[in-house]
Symmetry: C2
Subunit: 292 residues, 2 copies
Amino acid sequence: MQIIDGKATSQKVKDEIAAEVTQMKAKGGKTPHLAAILVGNDGGSETYVAAKIKACEYVGFKSSLVRFKDDVSEDELLAKVQELNDDNDIDGFIVQLPLPKHISEQKVTDAVDYRKDVDGFHPQNVGRMSIGSPAFISATPQGIMELIKRYKIETSGKHVVIIGRSNIVGRPMSILLSQKGYPGDATVTVCHSRTANLKEVCLQADIIIAAIGSPEFVKADMVKQGAVVIDVGTTRIKSDTTKSGWKLKGDVAYDQVAPKCSWITPVPGGVGPMTIASLLQNTLKAAKKEIY
Amino acid sequence: MQIIDGKATSQKVKDEIAAEVTQMKAKGGKTPHLAAILVGNDGGSETYVAAKIKACEYVGFKSSLVRFKDDVSEDELLAKVQELNDDNDIDGFIVQLPLPKHISEQKVTDAVDYRKDVDGFHPQNVGRMSIGSPAFISATPQGIMELIKRYKIETSGKHVVIIGRSNIVGRPMSILLSQKGYPGDATVTVCHSRTANLKEVCLQADIIIAAIGSPEFVKADMVKQGAVVIDVGTTRIKSDTTKSGWKLKGDVAYDQVAPKCSWITPVPGGVGPMTIASLLQNTLKAAKKEIY
């Protein structure tokens, strides 16, 4: 069994981006600029946005943070989105989710200029990804694709079983891995809460991608010897052994599953750290106008 | 074994639309208006467009046909697309594919206002379909969904195996049937040319959707007793027994497969006739502003 080290890979991606940005600047190019809109004071969102801004600094991007109180109106937020759409210095921006209940997340997502949608949530980017056109791909799927590539995991003709059909992980992974090329050309099965005989389906998998948010859901008796297991779950559970009082649990019962795997991503330190690397990659692509 | 009769169902859908249009007009509403752009003189395209216009007449829609010679420039075509986008009387329009090689089909598809994209090919509609938002769904997948609904084929928890990963059939079917609700909630496997053990995968299927364009590809030994088989293939092959000199062959070896099925779509007379019904449904939705 070998570990797919997302933390180390993320660091490597960030260092590569930093090197490229240094070169771009040396040639007199524009500094890539990522903006983030943060509404309210949700602890998780604060942490994520702070980490994104720190990562921008690390690679040499300019970053801007726009804050709103959680009673901001939808119209005010949409006006700010429009302002960022029109701001030529900003290459890409994100609206940190979740938003307060009185604001439609879909409406806000739709309002972002898809050419600056480095989160890859706009229908235009989702659609282009689906038909195989160049597109901003959202952070988690892109991070998984990057891990598969960098660890040279074979996918062609392999049976990939995806547990979970969410718009941000399961669905895009099923599209990407069944497309032509590498990483892709896999036979892909999408499973979910309505799937009958999940265990039997999983036992056929050469690659399992678990993305349901149910701690330790995937047990050893669901995994074929030699399978690759990618664990997207990150559920916070209470813990007496950590300073914070909680720890992250993946969707895979790691201790019993890992011995059967050829490759496995740990939680934490697997897919999670790749998401910020993906956001930086997308912002760099936006700055270089690689997609649009 | 029972036959899923696409011809009869298509007729029923058309009659329902005709009745609704009569009512709309009686209430003083606007007549739904579909326009089609046809480039060149491809025999297949001529036939399809003629059938679409005839169907418009049947249900009481207004229709417009815009013809270009096959040496039309991309710019001229794009200008016409813009004109139709701006024409308030036109609810929806299609650009009949294929286009001559000197014109980018993707560019033309992208130029269509997605709110008038009744073919459902615009990335915006593909993306919205993928995330489960209201969208124009392209003709063949929507026709298959309609058949499944009208024949009350159970899909929840069923294993659907889709052979083919095209953007116009395989991919959207995999998305639609794995989404929540009905018809959906199925466990969906997408197979294609790189799939290993296709026969074994197909034998697990409660529902097989064959969409590869390879005549009689699906044989009896690939189909489980009692399966539902939906045949999307329509390959023209030479024939001495028809006046036209050719006949349509599906992707399923019908004579040997049908006896094992609970339900099966024939070719011709299965999925094919549903595509025009779908286009009419989308045009009606556009006229009623049901999606956008």
